[in-house]
Symmetry: C2
Subunit: 466 residues, 2 copies
């Protein structure tokens, strides 16, 4: 049915926006949202609507959508719940194309709220107006400036433009991750918190993101799905072109019970989701840290087209930890070719271990990394490399950052980096990430990110063989 | 045998220190170490020793230890490896009490180096001089200012004074963790990287830390042990008084192989270590992040004297994730008493879930947390609480930090906090940690930290029952 429905485009590229329930009080959602549209990227027209005031933030305020001098592409509704049905009727009369209902007080509160949701759904279906929400945070589009996040910028930083789009059933989870992404410098294309789903659900959103040109990777937070079969269908269309990373809360029966009391819906069996994810090439993250780590890796590195991983390190213990995690994730330590080992032996000091993990020792400089990485990634027995760089060691110049990003580009094989430490390391971690090389605080995280790249690579390989 | 050996005290509280191999070249270990002793806390006398120069950093430089006008408590040896045996002979003649040998080029390089180690061991045993190293980073004591870390401060930040002491077989692992601790504001009492162990090993160090008044918690990085039975014996003496957290690399057979090629020694079976850790109450960390997280939790919170955990959150999805991890770690969701639920219901808005996880909803303020946390921790069915605080939500005042730290003190039950996000959250995370409440980026990390507190609490309970 969603195939025949109107496009979601007005949500992301509206030319005219009405903020219904716009407010003069600075902490109210209707105020924060209005300011979001006025102060940032958004280039369309913005109309505040509120019958109780005549002017907000220097703009004339209208009593009703019906009074607006323009057609309205997108209505953002932030009124009290009891007013929403009437507002929706007025939006319908005005032939508004899309509405984001921020207001809470619906299905999540029980039967009365559920009845209101039914009325909204009926209006939406009759008129063909698309609805996101209610009880949601709505949309953030870094490219067009659509921003219904009603949390002030000093509390919730907005990420820069990027290639990751993110759908989240939970608003709280979504904004916490957005805020984290912003502080890491991870860019976002679109974020959508879709709340109670009277109309638009995760399946509609995935269908839209599938063809969205600024979306190169999709991440999603799920508690349950609107329709498992359709979800599988749409994901199967995306994953050959764009990686999808998903996190599903409610893995244990206790967690599933907590989830169903939280959303009022039944969380599906974890095994069913896991099976469906595997089958359709969805990379599963088990916690928010993995979700972030995997998104960064898949957004910057090519997929790993095999399971043979080289480890290059200047700290032996870290090499051991990376090995442990590589093996636990069912990847393999690459067996370096005789040629590679011979060259490594010739070009590196005699005390350097030329077995995998390649241990360059604590006195390594950037040149030693350049030699080892070049030889290792050139080796046909190696599909990808986990590189450990302890920046604390005295002879290691900052130029090692260029070394790593150069070699990553040269061989089109993926690299993930681990650099453990504090402020000095953080500077270099940012330098690496700006060179599109993902860099993590622990060897395990770097190894798991390589697993994500290999999981996706394996899926693409199996597709190609079919 | 180590019982009859001289104390390790001169390593940590020397009155006189000789830096042998002191250098005028700023990037050389012998220069950095000299400056460490001159520029910081250290209050004893410092003598540079180097036959090739007459003055370094304004101090007269001596040609040999034998020429020094004072008795020497601690010699720090940073000469080339081939000079070390003779230097040790001179230290022996001078009746130096302790030596840290930074120099590498010993057993880790093969038979020739091994022979040098044997010579050093013989000198040390004959004269009774205690030796840490060779091939190590040595010692950092935040209280006395002993600092043989030869990495400049701008690369390796030094942690402030604290109650955690840290022994590490791997120097690289040790300094990376120290640097990380410094950036997190986590304080350290003593750090010791002990390298090739010609004399002092992890067992000697644990024996010393057992009675060290500024050490309240011990963390250790192991690849293998000098003597499994003795290690168990000494740990068994510590854990009733001070928590011990350990990380052992080489969990998989591939990892163990990498470890043995790295250190030249056989890594023991992982299962044997795991069994020994469990039996002696050692909290096992599986990666550096857990090591850091558990150390912070055990260093600030009381042990959790049962497995019944309450979760209090303002984001439903995060409550579900915390539940999943609590259950996966074999803890239980506490069953709140009827009284608690009745009071929660009376005092909180009707839409707040008063089952565990207690979901205070996205419009929660600090007062709602105060009410919920007080009632929950007072409940005799609750042993500890994982508290999730999404600081992005608009009505939550910073004062929630005081609320949480107050209630943690009041009931003497442990609290771990999850606050996911970016810069604004980071400010509050630091506020919480300065109030001695551990705060983590993800719900899983907060739940696992609670597991560490419960593992240790369970060990103490079993000891008391014996």
């Amino acid at each position: 049915m969603s195939g025949t429905k109107a496009s979601l485009k007005p949500f992301f590229e509206p030319k005219t926006v009405a903020i219904i329930g716009a407010s003069r009080e600075t902490r109210k959602p209707g105020h924060v949202i209005l300011r979001n549209f006025l102060e940032r990227e958004f280039r369309g027209k913005v109309y505040p609507v509120n019958p109780k005031t005549e002017e907000i933030a220097g703009l004339r305020c209208y009593a009703s959508v019906k009074d607006l001098p323009d057609e309205i592409d997108l209505a953002v509704i932030a009124t009290p719940a009891k007013a929403v049905v009437q507002v929706m009727q007025e939006c319908a009369e005005k032939k508004t194309k899309a509405a984001v209902i921020i207001s809470s007080g619906f299905g999540e509160l029980g039967p009365d709220g559920k009845k209101r949701e039914d009325e909204i759904r009926e209006i939406a279906e009759n008129i063909g107006i698309r609805v996101i929400g209610p009880n949601c945070i709505g949309i953030y589009d870094a490219y067009t400036g659509v921003d219904t996040l009603f949390l002030p910028r000093y509390r919730l930083a907005r990420p820069t433009k990027g290639n990751i789009s993110f759908t989240s059933q939970s608003g709280a989870f979504g904004v916490a991750m957005l805020d984290w992404a912003a502080s890491l410098g991870v860019g976002i294309s679109k974020f959508i918190s879709y709340g109670n789903m009277v109309d638009v659900n995760e399946i509609d959103l995935l269908e839209y993101l599938k063809d969205d040109p600024t979306t190169k990777i999709v991440i999603m937070y799920l508690e349950q799905t609107a329709d498992g079969r359709k979800l599988i269908d749409v994901v199967r269309q995306i994953t050959p072109k764009k990686p999808v990373v998903a996190i599903k809360a409610g893995r244990t029966s206790e967690g599933a019970r907590a989830a169903s009391s939280h959303t009022g819906a039944l969380a599906g069996s974890d095994l069913v989701y896991w099976g469906a994810f595997k089958q359709t090439g969805v990379v599963r993250a088990f916690d928010p840290e993995e979700l972030m780590d995997f998104a960064i890796a898949l957004g910057t590195q090519p997929p790993c087209m095999g399971n043979r991983i080289a480890i290059v390190t200047n700290g032996g213990g870290f090499g051991v930890m990376a090995t442990d995690e590589i093996v636990r994730r069912k990847l393999r330590l690459a067996e370096l070719s005789g040629t590679t080992k011979r060259y490594l032996h010739e070009k590196l000091p005699p005390y350097v271990s030329v077995e995998n993990p390649v241990d360059l020792m604590g006195d390594s400089d950037a040149q030693r990394y350049a030699t080892a990485l070049d030889l290792t990634l050139k080796d046909p027995n190696v599909d990808g490399a986990v590189v450990i760089v302890l920046f604390q060691t005295p002879l290691l110049e900052s130029g090692v950052v260029d070394t790593i990003s150069e070699v990553a580009t040269k061989y089109r094989k993926p690299i993930t980096v681990c650099a453990t430490g504090g402020d000095y390391v953080e500077i270099h971690r940012k330098m690496l990430e700006r060179s599109y090389v993902p860099c993590y605080q622990t060897p395990e995280r770097a190894a798991r990110a390589m697993w994500a790249l290999a999981f996706y690579g394996d899926y693409l390989k199996r597709l190609a063989e079919e």
